[in-house]
Symmetry: C2
Subunit: 156 residues, 2 copies
DNA sequence: CGCAGATATTTCAAGTATGAAATTTTAATG
DNA sequence: CATTAAAATTTCATACTTGAAATATCTGCG
């Protein structure tokens, strides 16, 4: 939901303020996401989900199992299958089998994938820097740690 | 992208810190969104996009044009068409024409829609309150205003 | 060994999501 | 008044997304 609180306030609760925070959070991330998606498409003919997958694989040089990938990206496993399929078709990702366990399939970036991704990551970082230009380093650090904190409250 | 900074740091920039902030922001909103989606489905057999549309229409008693709806929700107009179609099929939303302009179609909640939505909104607010329980009112207020601020920097 | 249960992945149906093209209607201008 | 540009929606192709069901494989226990 991307609007303002709608129900009547009960006394003794901060729920309205938290709701407002959530809405702002959501709107902020949606606007930024949408801007990044647009630029990724314009400059690289790619998408955000593809970027996410490649980013995860970029740092895991040895490759990742599909399950680990989906857990890390916070998306369903069925979802990752499709995105990886398309990346494989484009020659940016390769699948392989793990010794001793034929269930697990390890995916990793190809040389072409690493090369392309390095360029995308550089642009991406500059874009984020531009889009969040209004946030100073100190402030970014603060916000960052608060966001980290309130998430770990209800997740493991 | 939902991981940590990947490229080398240039001296004299806060870009790494901003990138980290963006990643945290994204991960936070994704986790919360996913939890809310699950509960909305479990308790009401509904979805987040439907909730968003209904929330917008709930406050605009007179109804909204499709374009205004899509602009407000930050999603494409083609997208809104489909969601509204399904809400209409369920009897929660009605379309009507505006006097004098046959292009514009005004959509509004039906009585059934208002009734259902009121219950969903109440549950939704309680969920958000629960999920953000770690954030005090003061802190929520602070975070909120910072989020609002850094968005308006690059959007109109 | 044999087989119930756990794991890893894919497949599938349904619902989002975007951006571009097509439609329909209105407004503006010569 | 006719034509052209603008505006509001819908349609369409493609990609993403989830959650559940189907497959295939592995593990542990009797």
């Amino acid at each position: 939901m991307v609007s303002a609180p709608l129900t009547a306030e009960r006394p003794g609760t901060d729920s309205k303020e938290r709701l407002r925070l959530w809405i702002r959070l959501l709107r902020a991330s949606r606007s930024i996401e949408s801007e990044l998606r647009e630029r990724l498409k314009r400059d690289f003919g790619s998408t955000l989900p593809r970027f996410d997958v490649m980013a995860a694989l970029y740092r895991e040089t040895g490759g990742m199992a599909m399950t680990d990938l989906s857990r890390f990206l916070l998306v369903s496993n069925g979802n990752v299958t499709g995105i990886v399929d398309r990346l494989v078709a484009d020659g940016y990702v390769a699948r392989s089998k793990r010794e001793g366990d034929r269930r697990t399939s390890i995916v990793r970036l190809t040389a072409a994938g690493r090369e392309i991704f390095a360029r995308m990551a550089e642009a991406h970082e500059a874009w984020v820097d531009e889009l969040l230009a209004g946030v100073g380093e100190m402030e970014a650090r603060e916000l960052s740690s608060k966001l980290k904190a309130f998430r770990s409250d209800w997740e493991g």
